[in-house]
């Protein structure tokens, strides 16, 4: 039966089920397929902190949000058009995401008495039958049964079959949204083919079964089509923030002609960076799992002293532990990059949830005057650019650099147009040469005109020197307790970091006019939400512009002037107003924060409301 095809610009699908039901895998593969199909994509995985939370419970639900569209997709979407709920707990925890009138696909087998009880539904109350879902297009399927039937003639166990339910759902959705089944099949079976051909074949069969079920059953009145997005020519892939960070560092080290030493300690959501690095032994990457975060950053300093690129990544608690050692790096003026993949705090907080509440710590979380450049990534793919730029600054200016990402960027993914390595700016570390000697003597703190000291590497005869955490005499680097020398060194270190701004491009307006009524200023992972909201408000005719900051320290040299061109400044942040405070202190502008500290991203709709309110309620 040929169904009516509706063309829509984009769609948001949420796969929600128990941790063991393969929701992440289903989401990733569907996203891949959609990207290969020519759509732009954005994804947002969401899983419990526990490794295997008890089956069927609210705490055990794992979900994957995917959006693909025919335009530039900047966020995974506020709400979804399709919700797949594999059990009662998944429905309960994710129904609020489904738009009114949206498609709700449920696995009836996941709504038996036990599942309902575990999800906390009142006794004898079943949402599938009590009419409470009448606002949605409810598609009830006994997926377990359908899968069992499709695989009846295989030797697979019930448990094995249960774990493949996700494939049936994928097949069904492929039919519904016109995704090429072959691509999906290729991606899925590639994962299992070598290790377990039987599983691969069963997966493949279920994809077809789901697809055919859509085709033959009359559950859906129409199918949907999402045209290809207009994308610039190039080579594309989808990429997560953590993957992009790793590639950024690898390429930067390569361009600088250095080994990449990466030290990490397992911590959510930064562990993936360690994993990715560990896979790259043959790319001149030297991965090291340290005994703690202090050892990790210390080791990175050791590598930097040895003349290579030292990198570490962590999250809040580990970043706090690194405070003292970051101060040493400032004193030594050695290049290294520290990534803080922010998560909801304080303390252990909510380890898998995003937040932006480490900004002030990144700026000020060290004793003494210890300025460090701070950069933030805007999107998963932008993590590549941020890592590359952070490395460039670290090596160019002989300084530690902090990169801020968060759980939203780290795990989420979007489309990435792969740059050619040649097109990236060159990186030339200031290695010491004979010219750095005065009367044949090498002075490790003899700065160049930019205020940068030379990098002399052990193994180089004639450049032997000692550096350390004590205040040092200008030029010679010898230990000094002289008051005026100390002040001078504090100023030289600060001036060097401030000087970076002079070499960076001025801040531009990301969207809208360069002056006017309202500037919405953001940083980090809120980029997509803010951009989309400003776009929507501008479409409504509201006088609003978007300014997105990559450089948090030093701030762009023209930022004060730019901000003073707006009557009002709104700063949406996933914290209690960190950037807001910074802008107020620096420029004495009456920036107002929009604070959200829930461990979840900003939605476009809430921002649209806030912008409307700020403009209208004057």
């Amino acid at each position: 039966m040929e169904r009516h095809r509706i063309v829509i610009p984009d769609v948001v699908i949420v796969f929600a089920g128990d941790s063991g039901e393969g929701m992440q895998l289903a989401g990733v593969q569907f996203a891949h397929t959609s990207a290969l199909r020519g759509n732009d994509i954005a994804t947002f995985p969401n899983y419990p902190a526990e490794i295997r939370a008890p089956q069927g419970t609210l705490a055990g639900v794992s979900s994957f949000q995917l959006r693909f569209g025919s335009f530039e997709v900047l966020t995974p979407g506020d709400q979804c058009d399709v919700l797949v709920a594999m059990n009662a707990a998944a429905l309960k925890t994710h129904l609020h995401l489904l738009k009114r009138g949206g498609i709700l696909i449920v696995n009836e087998a996941g709504f038996d008495r036990r599942n309902l009880r575990l999800a906390g539904y009142p006794e004898a109350e079943n949402p599938l039958t009590n009419g409470s879902l009448s606002d949605y297009q409810l598609i009830k399927l006994n997926i377990s049964q359908l899968v069992g039937a499709a695989l009846a003639d295989t030797g697979l166990s019930v448990r094995e079959k249960e774990r493949m339910k996700n494939m049936f759902v994928l097949g069904l959705l492929a039919w519904l949204f016109g995704r090429p089944l072959e691509t999906l099949e290729e991606l899925v079976t590639a994962k299992f083919r070598a290790r377990n051909p039987e599983i691969a074949a069963a997966n493949s069969r279920l994809l077809h079964a789901g697809y055919n079920f859509g085709e033959t059953s009359e559950l859906f009145a129409s199918r949907y089509e999402i045209p290809q997005a207009e994308l610039a020519p190039g080579v594309y892939r989808s990429i997560s923030g953590n993957e992009a960070l790793v590639l950024g560092f690898v390429v930067a080290a390569h361009k600088a002609g250095l080994k990449l030493f990466y030290a990490g300690y397992p911590i959510t959501p930064a562990s993936e960076v360690l994993h990715q690095m560990s896979n790259l032994l043959s790319y001149d990457v030297y991965p090291f799992q340290a005994e703690d975060e202090i050892a990790a950053i210390s080791a990175a300093i050791g590598a930097a002293f040895g003349g290579h690129l030292g990198v570490t990544a962590t999250s809040g608690p580990g970043f706090s532990l690194m405070s003292e050692t970051l101060g040493l790096a400032v004193m030594l003026e050695l290049p290294l990059v520290v990534c803080d993949i922010q998560r909801a705090g304080p303390s252990t907080g909510m380890p898998t949830k995003p937040e932006q509440a480490d900004l002030l710590q990144a700026l000020y979380g060290r004793h003494g005057e210890a300025p460090i450049p701070v950069l933030a990534a805007a999107t998963p793919a932008d993590c590549f650019q941020t890592a590359y730029e952070a490395t460039r600054l670290a090596l160019h200016w002989m300084t530690p650099v902090i990169v801020l990402s968060d759980a939203f960027l780290a795990n989420g993914s979007d489309l990435w147009r792969i740059p050619s390595v040649e097109s990236l700016p060159p990186i030339t570390p200031p290695f010491a040469t004979e010219e750095h000697k005065s009367n044949g003597v090498f002075h490790p703190y003899q700065r160049d005109t930019r205020g940068v000291r030379p990098w002399a590497i052990p193994g180089t005869p004639g450049f032997e020197h000692r550096i350390g955490g004590l205040e040092k005499e200008d030029i010679t680097g010898n230990v000094s307790y002289d008051p005026l020398n100390h002040e001078r060194m504090v100023q030289l270190r600060a001036a060097k970091i401030e000087q970076i701004a002079a070499e960076l491009p001025p801040q531009t307006v990301t969207l809208g006019e360069p002056e006017g009524e309202l500037a919405v200023v953001g940083w980090g992972s809120t980029y997509g939400s803010i951009y989309s909201a400003v776009q929507e408000c501008r479409a409504q005719g509201l006088p609003v512009s978007h300014i997105h900051l990559r450089y948090l320290n030093p701030l762009p040299r023209n930022l004060g002037q730019l901000l003073r061109g707006f009557r009002r400044i709104l700063v949406p942040e996933l914290n209690s107003g960190h950037l807001t405070q910074l802008l107020r202190a620096r420029y004495l502008v009456d920036a107002k924060a929009y604070e959200k500290v829930q461990g979840i991203p900003l939605t476009v709709s809430e921002l649209v409301e806030v912008i409307q309110e700020r403009i209208h309620h004057d």
Binding site: A35, G38, A190, L231, A232, P233, G234, V235, Y236, R237, S238, I239, V250, V251, K259, F261, A263, L280, L281, S282, Y283, Y286, F288, A290, E291, I294, A295, S298, A299, A300, I301, G302, A303, F305, G306, G307, H308, G310, E324, T325, G327, L328, L332, I418, P419, V421, P458, G459, T460, P461, G462, F463, E464, H465, R466, I467, G468, G469, N478, V479
Partner: protein, 341 residues
């Protein structure tokens, strides 16, 4: 850690131009001199040597060496060494630390460095007290020690550094003293030549805050009766007349005196014997209990490969089997596609 000899180098070539600023009479001076001498004897080019330290009196060491050096932060010297040694395995990396820096705040990095067996030489200057902060107890201070933080006399049970190092899986464990220059030199040389993480505890007198802590082992009168000098292949004999030693009865380690000749079951030192080492590191005699304290190389495992060697092996294997890094392929990943022109 072998290198072509530079026939012309002397200890002085390893000194820096900085004035040495330890207290008069500090044991550190002797150690500094012997380290410089050993480097000269080994003929390691000074540009290939790096000294890394933490915080404390001993940690000022790098400033006085004409090599490369990094005076780090408290307790982190081994951690800094990780990154340097992994990326620059050809360098001669020395870690200089004290009983406070290395065993109190830095104890964890120390035991992990020993476990990992990177090819570094670790000198732990043990003076059983905090010097730079003016005299508090350290993890090796003795019960009863009166200090500003223990005016009533410490009651903490001290670490036995060599036992801790051995328990952590060290491949080279030795003990020497600041006042026996020849012994110190020979032990330092052995440590420098060891392939792997060499741990050397050096008894070092702090004349200001803990003067004479080790005199029972270092001074002419008391040394013979209290210090047991180990030599590979030689019996464990000590005493003014070399008439005492250890015999083994089952696992019972018994002290024996003998006037005519050495008994047959006398313990012969075998530095490679793990079982014997397990007992030797625990032997911590004092003048009070009549047992001696062993000095020298207590244990040396020449077989375990270093961290750097094993990493290089893995890397080589991967490159051989999967090829070197093709950056473009890496950027593209498994699933990529081209749009347009």
């Amino acid at each position: 850690m072998t290198e072509a000899l530079h026939p012309s180098v002397s200890a002085k070539d390893y000194a820096s131009d900085q004035e040495v600023r330890w207290c008069p009479g500090c044991g550190d001076y002797a150690i500094l001199k012997q380290v410089q001498t050993v480097l000269a004897e080994l003929g390691v080019p000074r540009e290939n040597v790096v000294f890394i330290s933490g915080i404390g009196c001993s940690s000022r060491f790098p400033y006085y060496m004409g090599t490369y050096g990094l005076h780090g932060i408290h307790g982190r010297a081994p951690a800094i060494a990780y990154g340097l040694k992994i990326t620059r395995p050809e360098l001669h990396v020395w870690i200089v630390t004290g009983d406070g820096d290395g065993l109190s705040i830095g104890g964890n990095h120390l035991i992990h460095m020993l476990r990992r067996n990177m090819d570094v030489t670790i000198l732990l200057f043990n003076n059983e007290v905090y010097g730079l902060t003016k005299g508090q107890i350290s993890p090796t201070s003795r019960p009863g020690q009166r200090t500003p933080s223990t005016p009533w006399g410490s009651f903490e049970h001290p670490f036995n550094p060599v036992a801790l190092a051995f328990g952590a899986g060290a491949t080279f464990v030795a003990r020497t003293m600041d006042r026996d220059l020849a012994h110190m030199r020979s032990v330092l040389k052995r440590a420098a030549q060891h392939r792997g993480a060499a741990f050397v505890e050096i008894y070092q007198n702090c004349p200001v805050f803990n003067d004479g802590a080790f005199f029972a082992y270092t001074e002419k009168e008391s040394k013979p009766d209290n210090a047991l000098f180990l030599e590979h292949g030689q019996p464990l004999v000590f005493g003014q007349n070399r008439d005492r030693g250890f015999v083994l009865e089952g696992t019972a380690l018994r002290l024996a005196s003998f006037s005519d000749g050495l008994p047959a079951n006398l313990w012969i030192h075998d530095e490679t014997d793990r079982t014997k080492a397990a007992l030797l590191v625990q032997l911590l005699g004092t003048p009070d209990d009549g047992l001696p304290r062993p000095f020298g190389v207590l244990y040396a495992d020449h077989t375990r490969p270093t961290y750097e060697e094993l990493l290089a092996e893995r890397r080589q294997h991967l490159v051989q089997h999967h090829g070197g890094g093709d950056l473009s392929a890496l950027l593209r990943g498994k699933n990529w596609w081209t749009i347009g022109s």
